[in-house]
Symmetry: C2
């Protein structure tokens, strides 16, 4: 038998309104009644019914995260670390976290967002893998649904977000590769419509220039951020007349695939060919050889995003801060570091 405020009220011979007020900590109630209510509520193991509360308050105390379409899914370490961060932080703000995956279809992604918005399943969203022009931004803004994001799109809409100083990070990485003696540096990227891809590729080009190396379009491959894509691209790159001696990957997952391919090709990683990733997922420390990568604190980023969203939800006005994260270069054996 489920406990409701009505039962507490009956037991105490007071009205349900009084119980409700006592429970919610309103001031217009005698200290004595409040005590009695609080106590019996605890005794009876009362927990407010979520559905009723949501219906009445017209909010859900939940936030949503939908795994973007076109991503390999949760198998990607990036997402699990992102999830850990959100999952840790949400309860601190008394928020539930709803997670779903959009699968491969952009249409299903749209349907999901629309459904969640219209059925009022969540109060706000956390976005990542922002596209250059991202319909999610426009849609949520139009519907006045609060949201925060990792990276900022070019839609001309302002929203709370976290920015990564990709250019600075890439500059450090490219310099490191140059110093290690690598000259023929390739880039294995991701889908072209991703902000991330554009920035990382442009960081790569700028880094080449800084080192006095020229850009060769032949050395740029596209993938889909998966290890499989990294594997395939690497095998193809080896066929070039002048194959690269270093592979800069758009993310760690792609780099994992590259490592795998080089293993299969029997090349000595870190000496004959260097490999570098981006993100600094935990697993990057445990590959063999360990992966050089540009580390960004994924769980902390996710935490901060949830915090920003929560503030937005409570205050009603978006936070003004746009934190800038500078990636940390972790020099490891995959680029011949010590």
């Amino acid at each position: 038998m489920k406990i409701t405020i009505r039962q507490i009220a009956e037991k105490l011979n007071i009205s349900i309104a009084a119980v409700s007020r006592a429970l919610d900590g309103y001031p217009d109630i005698s200290i004595e009644t409040r005590q009695r209510v609080l106590e019996t509520a605890r005794e009876m193991g009362y927990v407010p019914n979520r559905a009723a509360r949501q219906l009445r308050r017209q909010k859900t105390d939940s936030i949503g995260f939908i795994l973007p379409s076109g991503s390999p899914g949760f198998s990607e370490a990036f997402f699990t670390e992102f999830l850990i961060g959100m999952g840790d932080e949400a309860p601190r703000h008394h928020l539930d976290l709803l997670v779903s995956t959009a699968g491969s279809s952009p249409e299903r992604e749209k349907d999901l967002y629309r459904d969640w918005v219209r059925s009022q399943k969540v109060d706000g969203f956390v976005l990542n893998r922002i596209r250059l022009n991202d319909w999610r931004v426009g849609y949520l803004a139009e519907n006045k649904i609060p949201f925060v994001a990792l990276e900022h799109s070019l839609d001309g809409v302002e929203y709370p977000h976290i920015e990564v100083d990709t250019i600075a990070g890439m500059a450090a990485l490219m310099k490191h590769l140059f110093q290690q003696g690598f000259r023929q540096i390739a880039f294995i990227g991701g889908p072209e419509d991703l902000k991330m891809q554009v920035e990382r590729l442009s960081g790569y080009r700028q880094g080449l220039a800084d080192c006095g190396l020229s850009f060769d379009p032949e050395l740029v491959f596209d993938g889909d951020l998966s290890a499989e894509a990294g594997y395939q691209a690497t095998r193809r790159l080896r066929w070039l007349p002048n194959p690269p001696d270093a592979l800069v990957c758009v993310n760690d997952e792609t780099a994992f695939g590259a490592l795998h391919a080089l293993h299969d090709l029997g090349l000595e990683i870190g000496r004959e060919v260097a490999v570098a990733g981006f993100d600094g997922v935990a697993a990057s420390a445990h590959t063999s050889p360990a992966l050089t990568t540009l580390d960004i604190p994924i769980p902390e980023i996710a935490q901060t995003l949830v915090r920003m969203l929560s503030a937005n939800l409570v205050a009603g006005i978006p936070a003004e801060k746009h934190p800038l994260i500078t990636p940390r270069l972790l020099m490891r054996a995959s680029t011949g570091a010590r």
Copy 2:
């Protein structure tokens, strides 16, 4: 402005009751009205309000999964694969999946379950990492909350579950190790109160006996299912006067740590020392050397559990089937298999 059945009713000049019935596909409504309702509902982008529906129906169409306390968390590949399976299957039954983590404290785990049950947040639960005597089983059974589980506890409560034929699996693995010439076989286990640990350890002992090897308590270490624990245990095992030439690990994660430690010790894995895991997570194929493991289809298991739970929720009576999964031995380089 959110669309409700009332607005559809007004637009069509019929009662909200008629709209509701048309939408829910009741038979006592004229085909014509139903058509009109369905059409305008679609036009107006109507999606039923979840909270209202839940409140009225007294169910949530959601199922819950709480990451057991004492687990390393989502960073464990096992859980991400388990989650993928549940996440795939739940929508097929029109169920939402709510996920949370219990952190390290058993108390917080209890609080979470109680809170979710009392606030009627979910209609049922999926459990895994069952303990020998698991309070969750008793609690949920008492409160008549449907649940399903991977593995069966010894609480004397019947519930739908999936069983793993650990003994058969372990027998195959031990035989394989023996055939590869390994004789000093150690076991790195997990928390002693886990059903899994007890079964896998007992499978190990039985396997030893089958091979005519004697059991040596010195060769059994406990961990917490994490890579870190596997790493530590392996380093300690090397200090033994007669160090093991094979490490059977309670799960892949532990084995990953063991591999890492042996790398650091400069030992040739697969020849000098063999390592084997359990679970067959995807990453086990990509370690170097690739990890020999007892593979169980984690995502499919999770899917099946969701399906069983859904059936239970709909029918009201627990399914009677208790599928038995026999692990598949994947012989790979970490045990010298080519």
